[in-house]
């Protein structure tokens, strides 16, 4: 190894990179040194004193978690040195003095580092006859996290996580000596969307998660590795199942993806597949919706689809396999390009680029970048683990800029450029100085960093104002890496498979690479781009579609135009719903096909990086429910076609032929002189309404995660800049009425300087407002605000958290 350091541990030689800690070097040799405060992703603390080793030539024992290796170092662990073994045993004796030893009723019992290491390295008996220290317990730090101070061994992993990793410093060590304890400011809640990580890394049962409290013993659980279904972070998880029911989800370490972390939504919103409304039998509408066999339903659907005008809408959380099958079904059997997984107009060539270029930017690229521009993305709320990686990059010295309508939780590590979507698009399109000093500084830094610079464009740049293509052009112009990130777990997989009116698999179009698709699929009938999601709904409403497939999507909730979605469902003659349940779609469904949940099938999901990760079933699919791709293949047969695969192996073989990375030629928008760029927005009336989903909302996947919602779900609100509030005369109002072309809503008013002037924000789906009632087909609109008479603002500081 170049620059390696060679040392011996317990007589075994090992070569490790310079700067490696002794405890890590020992791990490489398979030598276990007991430890509590040490965590590979936290700075060394040396607090618990459990990991003593003897370094030859040194008079004192050393803690192996704090001392780096040196050439020729000779280290002895408890395996080969009596003093070390004695010191470790003595330290465990100290740790256990005040520990309540309530293992039989502790959630951690059976998987507890203190318990395990005491058995392995500790004293068999106690010499302690005094009374133990007692504390009031448990103390709820939030509706999710409980603190038991008697069990706590003060390793400070939790407080260091909050300090070093999440930056959400809600908890801290208070007092000193034997009275030292973890605490939180009076009246505060542990309101961090990463709070659950502290529970997972607690080496004892001091921090416990309310949803798992007294629920199971580890030896009653079966654990399966999986991928989190919520956002596009692609977090590796362990799903713990007891008698077929998911009772816990934990982070699984993967240093290429989520490190060892998980957001609280990923950790605690796991009950949705077990909803009582779950349907596991195909249904067909005769007099009412009645159970039928798969064959019966597919035959009827095929009959209706034959020669008809068909459209397919999907959600963003199916598997790669499902998307591929649906893409092929649409193009080769149903003969339509009217299919879409998106909800917004899309990001044009930026979508085509990421569909063709998996891993154009990876987590590691973010972590190692020197300059990062995040545009149109609220990472903490939309892709929380990417947010942690951005913080990690900042901690490693990267310079960060965030171009967004609202301040994000990166505010302590990134310069924020708060602008309306139109202004963001104008800045990104600019060639040369834009007149925005912060933005120009960011562009200069991007240019200077070149390959070490990353531009991340989020969905806020996929609105009508655009910006994603401009961001891509800017990145390439500066020599930086670029990616366009979407929020839902497998939006990226859908994009790659071509569940898209214009894109075929791998970012191909009828003008680029059609021959490669046809070589695998046979002739693609319709070569004209199809309708996007909004146009499909409009066509349904206008009577231009005969059969509408809704696969894992509910347009009434998800489409950014609730009224249009309703008209579409009322006017389309035949609607096929393929999902876990019917919910609000029940009155409109002509046929229902029960799909297997992510827990119940084998497949892949593609995270925001473009990394495909495999899931295995945690349990069998209930009832007659089947994976979506199998249903698609069955429908193809019923239609007299054939998708050409009956097994996953066949499917994967075919996917591999079309979904690899491929070079593409992009049609980039021209760089504009910012001076001549039209300032179209200023001419419009009212304020620019911006809306996007917050992490914990009324979405279907958070259903029944009551503790999570109690901890982290804010009620709906409307946010506006003080200047606008003053101009509108609403600065002192407690509530405001938001009015758009589509509708109006009365909401608590937050006046905050942390939003761009001229912009108004409402969260997409919080209790009190489904914001799609304010929208006309895209996630932005023009809005007017007025005070609701008789309401007064509460005295609040300028800190407004989402």
């Amino acid at each position: 190894m170049r620059g390696g350091v060679t040392l011996t541990v317990d007589g075994k030689e090992v070569t490790v990179p310079k700067g490696t800690l002794i405890i890590r070097a020992a791990e490489q040799l398979g030598i276990e040194i007991p430890r509590f405060c040490d965590h590979p992703l936290l700075e060394p603390a040396g607090a618990c004193r459990q990991c003593y080793v003897q370094i030859e030539g040194q008079p004192k024992l050393a803690t192996s978690c704090t001392v780096g290796v040196a050439p020729g170092m000779v280290v002895k662990t408890q395996n080969t040195d009596e003093t070390v073994a004695q010191a470790q045993e003595a330290n465990l004796e100290f740790l256990l003095l005040n520990h309540p030893l309530d293992c039989p009723i502790c959630d951690r019992g059976g998987e507890c580092p203190l318990q395990d290491q005491t058995i392995a390295y500790g004293p068999g008996d106690t010499r302690f006859i005094e009374a133990k220290r007692t504390f009031v317990k448990p103390i709820p730090l939030s509706p999710l996290v409980n603190l038991d101070r008697e069990r706590c061994i003060l390793c400070a992993r939790c407080t260091r996580f909050c300090d070093e990793i999440s930056g959400d410093r809600f908890i801290e060590l208070f007092a000193r000596g034997a009275g030292e304890r973890v605490s939180i400011a009076a009246g505060e809640d542990f309101e961090s969307p990463f709070s659950g990580n502290t529970v997972q890394i607690c080496p004892v049962g001091a921090l416990t998660a309310e949803p798992y409290r007294f629920v199971a013993r580890p030896f009653d659980l079966s654990t399966v590795d999986s991928i989190c279904p919520h956002c596009s972070a692609g977090c590796n998880v362990k799903v713990d199942v007891r008698r077929g029911e998911v009772v816990r989800q934990l982070a699984r370490s993967d240093y290429d993806v989520n490190d060892a972390w998980l957001c609280d939504k990923g950790r605690f919103a796991f009950r949705f597949p077990d909803a009582p409304e779950r349907l596991t039998t195909p249904l067909i509408r005769d007099r009412g919706l009645e159970p039928a066999s798969f064959g019966e339903v597919l035959t009827q659907v095929a009959g209706r689809a034959a020669g008809a005008r068909v459209a397919i809408l999907t959600g963003g959380r199916l598997m790669d396999e499902d998307y591929y099958a649906l893409s092929k079904l649409a193009r080769t059997v149903l003969r339509t390009n009217d299919l879409d997984h998106r909800r917004s107009p899309g990001a044009g060539e930026a979508e085509r680029y990421v569909a063709a270029q998996p891993l154009s930017v990876s987590y590691k690229d973010v972590e190692r970048a020197k300059v990062i521009l995040v545009a149109g993305l609220d990472a903490e709320q939309e892709i929380p683990i990417l947010h942690l990686r951005l913080r990690k990059a900042a901690a490693r010295g990267a310079r960060l800029w965030v171009l967004h309508p609202r301040r994000t939780r990166l505010h302590d590590v990134a310069a924020h450029i708060l602008t309306s979507p139109e202004e963001a698009a104008r800045l990104l399109a600019g060639e040369g100085p834009t007149g925005n000093a912060a933005f120009d500084e960011a562009v200069g830094a991007l240019r200077d960093a070149g390959e070490d610079a990353v531009v991340i464009a989020g969905e806020r740049l996929a609105g009508p104002a655009g910006g994603a293509e401009e961001a891509m052009a800017l990145a390439f112009d500066a020599g930086a890496r670029f990616t366009y990130v979407t929020r839902r777990a497998n939006d990226r997989g859908a994009l790659r498979a071509g569940v898209h009116p214009r894109l075929l698999p791998g970012g191909r179009t009828s003008a680029d690479g059609l021959d490669e698709v046809e070589a695998v699929w046979g002739p693609v009938m319709d070569r004209e781009p199809g309708r996007d999601a909004r146009a499909i709904l409009q066509a349904c409403a206008d009577g231009d579609i005969d059969v509408l497939f809704l696969v894992g999507v509910d347009p009434l909730r998800d489409a950014p135009d609730a009224a249009l979605a309703l008209r579409a469902l009322q006017n389309v003659p035949y609607t096929v719903v393929q999902s876990l349940e019917l919910g609000s779609l029940e009155p409109f469904a002509s046929a229902f096909l029960p799909a297997a949940a992510f827990l119940e099938k084998t497949g892949h999901v593609t995270d925001w990086e473009g990394r495909g990760q495999m899931l295995r079933p945690v349990r069998g699919a209930p009832g007659l429910s089947r994976p979506d791709w199998e249903i698609a293949a069955g429908l193809a047969l019923a239609c007299g076609g054939d998708l050409g695969f009956e097994t996953l192996e066949q499917l994967h073989e075919e996917m591999a032929r079309l979904l690899g990375p491929r070079p593409i030629t992009l049609a980039l928008p021209p760089r504009e002189d910012p001076a001549s760029a039209s300032a179209s927005a200023s001419a419009s009336e009212g304020l620019a309404l911006v809306t996007y989903p917050l992490l914990v909302d009324e979405g279907r996947l958070s259903e029944r995660a009551d503790e999570l919602k109690a901890a982290l779900e804010p009620d709906a609100f409307v946010e506006v800049h003080p200047e606008d509030a003053a101009a509108l005369g609403i600065a002192d109002a407690g509530r405001a009425r938001v009015r758009t072309e589509a509708g109006e809503a009365e909401l608590p008013l937050r006046v905050t300087p942390h939003i761009a002037p001229g912009t108004v924000f409402v969260p997409f789906n919080q209790p009190g407002l489904a914001a799609n009632t304010l929208l006309s087909g895209t996630f932005d609109a023009r809005a007017t605000l007025e005070a609701v008479a008789g309401t007064a603002a509460e005295a609040v500081g300028d800190e407004v958290s989402a």
Binding site: A90, L95, I129, T134
Partner: protein, 446 residues
């Protein structure tokens, strides 16, 4: 035996006017600073190195060498911090030094600052030293007004600010890295070393932290030279040293003596001997965290090397004298209780071990000891000596191991008699060890 020498640190103690700027300057004060401002940093460091001055805070590290570790090319500012967090039980000599002669501390700090190109220095005074903090603050204000601090000090083009920072009452903040944490507004907990403060100290910048007495020796060294400084004391421990003698002694107080003076001189000539002429039983040579010595060591020389040879440490020069009516177990309990109370809580052996040791020692003293408690105490001493995060627990261990070493019999007698042999039997005392439910540190959850 009598002691004749020229007092240095205490030479102006009879003149209250030296506490003022005018009085200090009248005695030649700030002359050394003027000289230092004409010298290069390297020359200043060299003269301090040549003087052989060693840190008076306890460890005895050579001061000039400490200054020379400060890198000058980091692009970061450098800092000097005077450690005036004098908190060791039995020690109050920094207090009297700086109280009577505050400008000498300012001058020493300013010279140290000049030596390492520092323009912002701190005096960290322990929170309980309320009056002393006020004295220091007044002296700083005088020094600013007199042009000895601020822009262009003492007529030079060198700028220096000195900020007085009050601690919040934690013994651990006398540990230099915990002091830095406290200065930065963080929890008073020691930091991991390396990086050492000389490289990454205050605000991650090169920092020198010196004890008050160390810094107060500096002006004379600069003014009169290294050879003059070495004219008193021993070869390896040159200069004079302040001792605080307390406990069972006729004339407790602060005394300056040349390094290497026999303990007997301090006790008998200066301290007037053991109180009421009783017999010397034991003493701490350098504060409660240094191992106890017994009457057998009465002729030990008070310098770093000789005391180390006798099995203890010079520490902060706090001599606590015990006579033959004092119970060692009780004394140990009292001292260990102090360290349990002052443990910062960061690391296990110190936090839990000193808490436990306090309880076991309390039980022994109360006559509730068991035979196996004595090997237990032996183990405890071993189990936190050199195994904790910082040296605080080493002090705790020193009390336990040295008292057991010298007075093992007395411990055993406590167990055998079921009471303290030096106390009258208490008819109320219980006998069941398990009945002794130790009151927990009362914790009310927030």
């Amino acid at each position: 035996m009598s002691l004749e020498f020229e007092p240095r640190l205490t030479r102006d103690w009879d003149d209250p006017s030296v506490a003022t700027l005018a009085g200090y300057v009248a005695k030649g004060g700030y002359g050394a600073l003027r000289a230092a401002l004409e010298m290069s940093g390297a020359d200043l460091i060299q003269v301090v190195k040549d003087s052989g001055l060693r840190g008076r805070g306890g460890a005895g590290f050579p001061t000039g060498m400490k200054w020379s570790f400060v890198p000058q090319d980091t692009g970061k500012p450098t800092y000097v911090t005077a450690n005036y967090d004098e908190s060791e039980p039995g020690t109050c000599n920094n207090r009297e030094l700086a109280e009577r002669d505050p400008h000498r501390l300012i001058e020493g700090t300013a010279i140290a600052a000049k030596a390492i190109e520092c323009h912002l220095a701190f005096i960290y005074v322990r929170g309980e030293y309320l009056w002393q903090g006020m004295v220091m603050q007044r002296a700083l204000e005088e020094a600013y007004a007199g042009g000895y601090l601020g822009k262009g000090i003492a007529g030079s083009d060198y700028d220096l600010e000195i900020v007085l920072h009050r601690g919040a009452g934690a013994y651990i903040c006398g540990e230099e890295t915990a002091l830095l944490n406290s200065l930065e507004g963080l929890r008073g907990e020691p930091r991991l070393r390396p990086p050492f403060p000389a490289v990454e100290g205050l605000y991650a910048s090169p920092t020198v932290i010196n004890n008050v007495e160390t810094l107060m020796n500096v002006p004379d060294i600069v003014a009169r030279g290294a050879d003059w400084f070495r004219s008193q004391g021993t070869e390896k421990s040159p200069g004079t040293k302040m001792f605080t003698i307390s406990g069972k002694v006729e004339r407790p107080g602060n005394y300056e003596i040349p390094m290497g003076t026999p303990f007997r001189v301090l006790l008998e000539d200066l301290g007037g001997g053991v109180l009421h002429g009783r017999a010397l039983k034991a003493f701490t040579p350098g504060g409660s965290s240094t191992p106890l010595l017994t009457a057998a060591s009465i002729d030990v020389s008070l310098d770093y090397e000789s005391i180390a040879e006798a099995g203890s440490l010079l520490g902060t020069g706090a001599v606590m004298v015990m006579d033959d009516t004092d119970c060692v177990v009780e004394a140990a309990e009292r001292m260990v209780r102090f360290y349990a109370h002052e443990s910062c809580g960061k690391c296990t052996p110190c936090r839990e071990g000193s808490w436990w040791a306090t309880r076991v020692l309390g039980r022994l003293e109360d006559g509730l000891g068991r035979e196996r408690d004595i090997p237990l105490m032996h183990d405890m001493g071993t189990n936190f000596l050199f195994r904790a995060f910082c040296a605080l627990a080493d002090g705790t261990a020193a009390v336990i191991t040295s008292s057991l070493e010298h007075f093992g019999d007395e411990y055993e007698e406590h167990v055998r008699l079921g009471r303290c042999p030096l106390r009258a039997p208490d008819p109320q005392a219980g006998t069941d060890p398990d009945a002794l439910a130790m009151a927990p540190p009362s914790e009310v959850a927030s």
